[in-house]
């Protein structure tokens, strides 16, 4: 597994180590964007909150 793919305890960005302002009510599967580097992080656990790098957008994604 590549670096950054492991779920880590939230509050710090996996990519740039900036502090993450996490809003209340996050649920598993939601995306948090780092305000510093812009990377997208997916919520994989909520108690406690753990994040991992979100998958890149795929060709077949959409509405």
């Amino acid at each position: 597994m590549a670096s950054g793919q492991y779920p880590v305890a939230a509050t710090v960005c996996i990519e740039c180590h900036a502090q993450l302002p996490l809003r209340d009510g996050l649920i598993v599967g939601e995306i948090v964007q780092c305000p510093e580097c812009g990377v997208e992080l997916e919520v994989v656990e909520v108690e406690p909150i753990r994040l991992q790098l979100a998958p890149e957008v795929e060709e077949d994604w959409g509405e």
Binding site: I27, V28, G29, E30, I31, E42, V43, A54, P55, E58, E59, D60, W61, G62, E63
Partner: protein, 282 residues
């Protein structure tokens, strides 16, 4: 009532739907399709009165819906609707078969024939991948030189799906188009999407404002929804310079985050009304 909600990434829309189910105290089980495995021959999902597809991935959605429908579990939208809407060619064919006014299109299966097809449409023309959304990988080609370049890139760099060339004439739409929302047999709301760019998806930065649902817009929207198989769909409509409405695309897992305050219509509530009705009838 027991509802299942298929998802992977949770967008604002999925969260709003989950909150609406919770507010009404309707049991809604979140099903992350990335975490499930199906065992053939085993019907394990019969606890659901209805499964709502909110998958962001076309391939994951189609695989999951195919399995669930084989177990006779009611799904919305249905697999057939998802398949028709998930592919611009099948969408266009369904609209054409139903006689719904839509942007004309041509299909070519090689770069050479695509170049001829584009010349037949005339410049500028629009090239689209048959699968994909959010205005990604669209190309407006203004002349033969641009067409040759785009086609060469797609031929060499794209997946096999990019070798099916979907071509439309460029419609001068005055900097905006319309997105209407059809739930069941009703056009519940519409927005006008404005942009300085020729691509007017809100995912690409277009602004949204309320659009009055005229009788003409209502009729063409409901006709388009019916043509793809019904359910809950979002429809992209363009107005031609001579005032005609033409369907551009139909979306099977509508995004509506920018359209609730804009229209004053509680779209997630209307969707949950619809889902509850389907679940009760199942």
């Amino acid at each position: 009532m027991n509802i299942g909600l298929l998802h992977s990434r949770i967008r604002a829309e999925e969260k709003m739907l989950l909150e609406e189910f919770k507010r009404r105290e309707i049991r809604c089980e979140e099903i992350d399709v990335r975490k499930i495995a199906f065992l053939s021959g085993h019907v394990t999902w019969s606890r659901f009165d209805l499964v709502v597809d909110r998958c962001i991935s076309e391939a994951q959605a189609e695989a999951t819906l195919a399995i669930l429908e084989s177990m006779d579990i009611p799904c919305v939208n249905r697999l057939s609707v998802r398949q028709v809407c998930g592919n611009k060619l099948t969408t266009s064919l369904a609209l054409e078969r139903a006689g719904v006014p839509s942007i004309p299109f041509r299909i070519a299966l090689s770069a050479e024939s695509a170049l001829q097809a584009i010349a037949g449409v005339g410049y500028p023309a629009v090239l689209k991948p048959i699968v994909g959304s959010w205005g990604r990988f669209l190309a407006r080609v203004n002349d033969a030189d641009a067409a040759e370049a785009v086609l060469e890139h797609k031929s060499h760099l794209g997946s096999p799906m990019h070798q099916v060339f979907y071509i439309q004439p460029f419609i001068e739409k005055g900097g905006s188009d319309i997105r209407s929302f059809v739930i069941g047999d009703e056009t519940v709301a519409a927005i006008r999407r404005r942009s300085n760019h020729w691509i007017t998806n809100t995912a690409r930065g277009a602004s949204a404002e309320n659009c009055v649902v005229t009788s003409e817009l209502d009729r063409i929207s409901r006709d388009a929804a019916l043509a793809v198989g019904g359910g809950a769909v979002a429809i992209d409509v363009v107005e031609t310079p001579d005032g005609r409405l033409l369907i551009n695309e139909v979306n099977a897992t509508m995004e509506f985050r920018n359209s609730i305050d804009t229209t004053g219509v509680n779209i997630p509530a209307r969707l949950v009304d619809f889902f509850v009705g389907l679940g009760a009838a199942a």
